[in-house]
């Protein structure tokens, strides 16, 4: 692969007012490879700036190649940083170059034509004005999301451009809310851009806008910096509630925003340099970069998925019409737009499901997501009843019935009776053996697990479970379906509870033990929240349902014995009791519980890797990031366990090595 280098390409454009410098940030690759600022990009920018500083320009317009303005720093370089000095130098290089843009003696305009992230935003902020295309959907400073801070002037320039609350939201809160990004329209509304232009002729109109700046500079009202302190205080309170102090970057970003009220820009950028140097080599930042790579690159590759032609899916059967099945039906309907057949034991259940799907579609139509006709078309694709005969012609039958192996086997047997030999039989089981489910079928090679997570519409993970019998076309098709559902699939072997539920249940076992030993729910919750996990375990348990949780525990207990001790308390919860059954052991401190959770997790990860449930630790992390919403700054979990020495202590080696050492079990 040819090396991709971003250049600042300067072209002279003659205008009625004199020469305009048109600078394109372009890495000469297509839009799938956004331009980023790596070392040589800065060398190119330095040369362009030299030309800008010496020429007879009346204005300069910075813009990007089609669909991309600039995606900021090259994160690959972050992982190669070795020292604090290197980190400071990287930040300072940006400060120096961008500062030279700000110092240019003629009007400068950033024409934000496409994705504009991190350093891209910061470059734009150093220009006198910004135009933005109404087609832009990614305008953000994602640094805090990645465990660092905007360190090319972002924390100092944002509060000088927009109001204090917007600044806090943009620099800290949006990145911490699943890396939320602004559209061009939003960016303009909030004051980041001075003009929102249509995508057609965007650059022509931007050049005209720049000429307007030459004739009459913008008059900008500086935001009231004295409001920063209060906005930062609110931001900090909100952050405490979200990450419980576990992620240092957003706190540092808040400090820098607050400082902007009193520092000069020069003072501010020096503080940025210190802050980023403190953060970037730290475990959270490195874990975040690792997690980002997993989610954005590795998970899209389909590690271990056979290169087979996927089968066409033109009709889908869903067994069960309960809550989960209804969610699945809705997802398949919206993404695949094929006939969906629901089957349950009673007609009313099916009718309720159909009505709820129709209602959801109507709601979407009312919100303008679908036209009325489209909503009607989609709703009309859903049929159902109590028999299996209407599954005839299905290319996929997915079961989401009660977690009982015998029931599921019967469902598959009934389905196999009516479907073609190629039809895939998939199960959404969360813990049962997929292999056994297919054992009595005529064609067990068509059976695969597709384990979705609740709520289906939001959780991106699908654990794709391969049994020893599953054939390549089946797995390739399951992967393809997952892609088309816009979910991320991770290949796992057929082992009890697969990955996410196994880790969560092991954690639950520790917590149940603590409760039974006399700890309070508040303490166990706090222990987990201090890790930075998104949801208190007591809340999660209510969401999953104690019955399901206990069922998974029983399955795991049966398989692995005392690593998953049966819990009288959880069994009681499952029966509707709220009583905590006193058990053995002593009451522990929150920190002790937290440590115990991490140790148990490390142990379980090692077991999974030893068993070959997944090929690598990275797969476990991908599952936890996408299926449990565990935070980037823990790198899923194994990155944290390895970096903090817990793996070494508990299992005698790092988990990253544990996985890599084993041969892959697939094929």
């Amino acid at each position: 692969m040819a090396e991709v280098v971003t250049e600042f390409k300067l072209v002279r454009v003659e205008s009625r007012l004199g020469p305009v410098a048109l600078v394109t940030i372009d890495n000469s690759a297509d839009h799938m490879k956004p331009s980023v600022f790596e070392r040589r990009a800065f060398e190119s920018m330095d040369r362009a700036l030299a030309e800008l500083e010496e020429g007879d320009w009346v204005a300069a317009v910075f813009t990007g190649k089609p669909y991309v303005f600039a995606a900021g720093a090259d994160m690959q370089e972050f992982t190669r940083l070795r020292s604090r000095e290197e980190a400071i130098a990287g930040s300072r290089a940006g400060h120096d170059l961008f500062g030279r843009v700000r110092a240019l003696p003629f009007p400068t305009l950033a024409a934000v034509n496409g994705a504009c992230l991190g350093g891209g935003v910061e470059l734009a902020l150093h220009c006198d004005a910004r135009t933005i295309s109404s087609a832009v959907r990614h305008f953000a400073l994602p640094e805090c999301f990645l465990g660092i801070i905007p360190a090319w002037g972002g924390t100092q320039l944002v509060p000088r451009l927009v109001d204090a609350r917007t600044a806090v939201r943009f620099v800290v809160q949006n990145p911490m809310r699943q890396n939320r990004m602004l559209t061009g329209t939003e960016a303009q509304d909030l004051g980041f851009a001075d003009a929102l232009l249509e995508p057609a002729e965007f650059l022509d109109e931007s050049i005209a806008f720049a000429l307007g700046l030459v004739e009459s500079p913008l008059e900008r009202v500086a935001p009231d910096l004295s409001l920063l302190a209060d906005a930062v205080r609110r931001g900090r309170a909100q952050l405490d509630g979200a990450v419980h102090g576990a992620a240092p970057a957003p706190y540092r970003a808040l400090d820098l925003l607050e400082g902007a009220a009193t520092w000069s820009i020069e003072e501010g950028v020096r503080q940025e340099e210190e802050a980023v140097a403190d953060l970037i080599l730290g475990p959270q930042a490195q874990a975040s970069l690792y997690a980002f790579d997993l989610v954005e690159r590795r998970a899209k590759r389909g590690v271990g998925i056979p290169q087979e032609q996927p089968r066409r899916i033109a009709k889908v059967g869903i067994v069960g019409a309960g809550l989960m099945a209804t969610q699945l039906a809705t997802l398949f309907l919206r993404r695949l737009e094929v006939p969906i057949v629901l089957r349950d034991v009673r007609e009313e259940i099916v009718e309720t499901a159909r009505a709820s799907i129709a209602e959801e579609l109507a709601g979407e139509a009312a919100r303008g997501r679908y036209t009325e006709g489209k909503a009607r078309f989609l709703a009309g694709l859903v049929s159902g009843g109590t028999d299996y005969d209407s599954f005839a012609g299905c290319d996929l039958v997915l079961e989401a019935v009660f977690e009982d192996l015998a029931v599921k086997k019967e469902v598959f047997a009934e389905a196999e009776r009516v479907v073609s030999p190629e039809c895939i039989l998939a199960t959404n089981t969360s813990s049962l053996s997929v292999t056994e489910m297919g054992a009595d079928l005529r064609r067990p090679e068509r059976v695969v697990g597709m384990h979705f997570f609740n709520p289906v519409a939001l959780m991106p993970l699908v654990e794709l479970v391969r049994t020893p019998e599953t054939d390549d076309p089946t797995l390739a098709t399951a992967w393809d379906i997952t892609q088309r559902l816009r979910k991320r699939g991770v290949l796992v072997q057929d082992a009890p509870a697969f990955v996410v539920n196994r880790v969560l249940t092991r954690m639950t076992s520790v917590l149940m033990g603590a409760l039974e030993a006399g700890n309070t729910v508040e303490e166990t919750d706090e222990a987990v929240l201090r890790l930075g996990l998104p949801m208190a375990p007591s809340v999660l348990l209510q969401m999953v349902g104690p019955r399901v949780a206990n069922h998974v525990l029983e399955t795991l207990h049966e398989a692995y014995g005392e690593r998953f001790p049966l819990s009288a308390t959880l069994a009681g919860f499952a029966m509707g009791s709220e009583e905590i059954v006193a058990g053995k052991g002593r009451r522990r401190s929150v920190e002790e519980i937290k440590a115990a959770v991490l140790e148990a997790t490390a142990d379980e990860c090692a077991h999974m890797l030893d068993e070959g449930v997944v090929a690598e630790a990275a797969d476990i992390d991908t599952c936890l990031l996408l299926g449990a919403g565990w935070p980037f700054f823990l790198g899923g979990i194994t990155k944290h366990l390895d970096a903090s020495g817990i793996s070494e202590r508990v299992v005698g080696r790092t988990l990253a090595r544990a996985g890599a050492a084993l041969p892959s079990l697939d094929g």
């Binding site: 394109t24 249509e198 057609a200 022509d204």
Partner: protein
């Protein structure tokens, strides 16, 4: 009673004319008079009739919309042409719930006489209305209307023509369509019971009736700079349809008076209708340019005459009353679509010797012209090329290119840049320089890269509008399409096509060559223009011919070129207000010619630089 008041034939006209203006004021209040009457002396019955119907419908369903229906039914009767309110006033007091009684009318009078209010459109229209009445042909539908009114015996319903008994049918028969419309419009002020029959008549009036064709006006035209086809050209990495979008949007920007939903059709020509020129370009470009989805579009192909054909097709829509405003133009990205690409020639052409094999290579057809006109030498062609280059160089210094070429930012390997100049300009071209160029189409031939147009990427677009729409929207008229002709010749000498086309259009318009003060001819090959000169008896050095140079100097993006010719002719007209007629013409592959005659109707001349 007023019923006894009889009106003679002559009086009817008199009454009509005196009453019209006031009627029109009344109509103004419903905001229809402007639409009905704002259109000078040309009729537009179908459109307006429908509008009146719509309005009437609205009035009937929502009484508050119609001031005339505000009050209780008035039982005042009689027509009094001599009353203070005049004929119209009397009419507006007719029974049936008209609220414009004496008092409202007095108020109306006061309002109308306010000096700060511009004179109603109606005033401008009385003259033409009268003229039409006196000269106009008998319109059967007028009679139909009259008959309907008569049959109904409804005084008020007769809309400004007094009582049914007073009007002889033959007299109503000479009502112009305008007056018939007025009657209908007035009737639409009446309550349902009374206006229904009139509206029924109006429906008949607007259905399938004969009408005059409308004049077609060229309003404005622009083009991109023309780039060299191929990786070295400015547009290499720019999509053809995006180039179309650019010129269309520029045109919209320059003519903000045109409401987008008044555009009746978007017609874009391309010779290669595949790839980025493939998706029914007119529609594709319209959607991409942000024109409302309700506006249709299509693509045309007549090779080099694509844009000309887009214009004539659009002119047809306007003349027939199918559209008021047309966006027409052409795109050709010859870099993305080399000539002959994806073309599968029918073997019969060769097997049956239907055409000479040289017909498919345009350069070879140009060599054939030299054979056909042995008097035209390579030196003549080169001299013409030199002239074209030097005239183009001057034109770029002067206003014409500034006005007709829109700069477009284009993404290239060097980043974004702005394409604002034709890439074929060689102002320092000399005869000596041209003499040594290769003759790629024939050993020892005469056609060279220097005396032909290069392979070009470019896009053009123009606005056409009905004459009355130009007035209605306040557009600046530039040229009136006087006539056009297409003709066919032997494909292997396709370059002579414009000769019969020119002869044909002159014959059909009754003009002679001497009437034409400007010629904008395409220059695919210098020899092609020279054959036209010889065929038509025009000196190649004539100042009327291609005053701003031609395709040899600016390029020839096949289907886009026609509008460039028009834009330059329109500018030429502005520079030469004394010139009345001009010609745009070009030859077409596979043996055709196209010629359009335009009349200079502009009113804002530029001074010759």
């Amino acid at each position: 009673m007023q019923d006894e008041h009889r009106v003679g034939d002559g009086d009817v006209l008199e009454v009509l004319v005196t009453g019209l203006e006031r009627l029109e004021h009344g109509l103004d209040r419903l905001d229809v008079a402007e639409r009905i009457l704002g259109c000078d002396h040309r009729e537009r019955i179908p459109d307006v009739g429908r509008e009146v119907l719509t309005r009437a419908q609205a009035v009937r369903e929502y009484p508050s919309l119609g001031p005339a229906l505000e009050g209780e039914q008035r039982q005042a009767g009689g027509v009094a042409p001599d009353r203070g309110g005049g004929f119209g006033g009397a009419l507006l007091q007719r029974p049936g719930g008209l609220a414009l009684g004496t008092l409202p009318i007095a108020r109306e009078e006061a309002r109308l006489q306010r000096p700060d209010r511009p004179p109603p459109a109606a005033r401008r229209c009385v003259g033409p209305a009268l003229a039409v009445t006196r000269r106009g042909p008998v319109e059967p539908s007028g009679g139909l209307l009259g008959a309907t009114l008569h049959q109904q015996g409804q005084a008020g319903a007769s809309g400004g023509v007094a009582h049914p008994g007073q009007l002889a049918l033959p007299r109503i028969g000479v009502l112009s369509a305008r007056q018939a419309r007025l009657a209908v419009a007035v009737a639409s002020l009446l309550p349902p019971r009374m206006c229904a029959p009139v509206l029924h008549a109006a429906t008949i009036l607007t259905r399938g009736m004969a009408r005059e064709l409308r004049e077609v006006i060229y309003v404005d035209g622009v083009r991109t700079a023309f780039g060299k086809a191929g990786p070295g050209g400015a547009f290499w990495r720019t999509r053809a349809d995006d180039m179309g979008v650019k010129v269309v949007r520029e045109l919209l920007r320059r003519n903000p008076e045109v409401p987008l939903d008044r555009i009746g059709d978007v017609i874009v020509a391309a010779t290669a209708q595949v790839g980025d020129q493939g998706l029914t370009l007119g529609r594709d470009v319209a959607l991409l340019a942000g024109i409302p989805h309700s506006v249709p579009g299509f693509a045309v192909d007549r090779m080099c005459a694509g844009a000309l054909t887009a214009v004539t097709a659009g002119a047809g829509e306007i003349a027939m009353g199918a559209a008021d405003v047309i966006l027409a133009g052409g795109v050709e990205h010859m870099g993305h679509h080399p000539m002959g690409e994806n073309v599968d020639f029918n073997p019969r052409f060769v097997a049956e010797r239907l055409v000479d094999t040289s017909a498919v290579t345009m350069g070879a057809t140009a060599e054939n012209l030299h054979d056909l006109y042995p008097g035209i030498t390579k030196e003549d062609a080169d001299a013409f090329a030199v002239r074209s280059q030097s005239r183009a160089a001057t034109a770029w210094e002067n206003g014409v290119m500034r006005e007709t070429v829109v700069p477009m930012s284009v993404f290239t390997d060097d980043g974004w840049r702005v394409a604002d100049r034709d890439e074929f300009l060689r102002p320092d071209t000399t005869l000596e320089g041209l003499a040594g160029l290769r003759t790629p189409f024939r050993p020892g031939g005469r056609v060279t890269a220097g005396n032909s147009a290069g392979l070009t990427d470019g896009a053009t677009a123009c606005f056409l509008a009905a004459e009355e729409t130009v007035a209605e929207l306040g557009l600046e008229p530039r040229m009136r399409l006087v006539g056009f002709a297409f003709s066919g010749v032997e494909p292997e000498v396709m370059g002579i096509g414009p000769i019969p086309a020119t002869q044909k259009v002159l014959a059909r318009t009754g003009l002679s060559l001497d009437d034409i003060g400007l010629f904008e001819l395409n220059e695919p090959f210098a020899v092609q223009v020279l054959t036209w000169c010889e065929g038509m008896g025009v000196d190649p050095q004539d100042e009327r011919l291609n005053p701003y140079g031609g395709a040899i100097a600016c390029g020839h993006p096949l289907a886009a070129t026609g509008v460039r010719l028009m834009a330059q002719l329109a500018y030429g007209f502005r520079e030469r207000p004394e010139v009345r007629y001009g010609l745009t013409a070009l030859c077409v592959g596979m043996g055709m010619g196209a010629a359009l005659v335009w009349e200079n109707v502009g009113s804002d001349p530029v001074k010759a630089a």
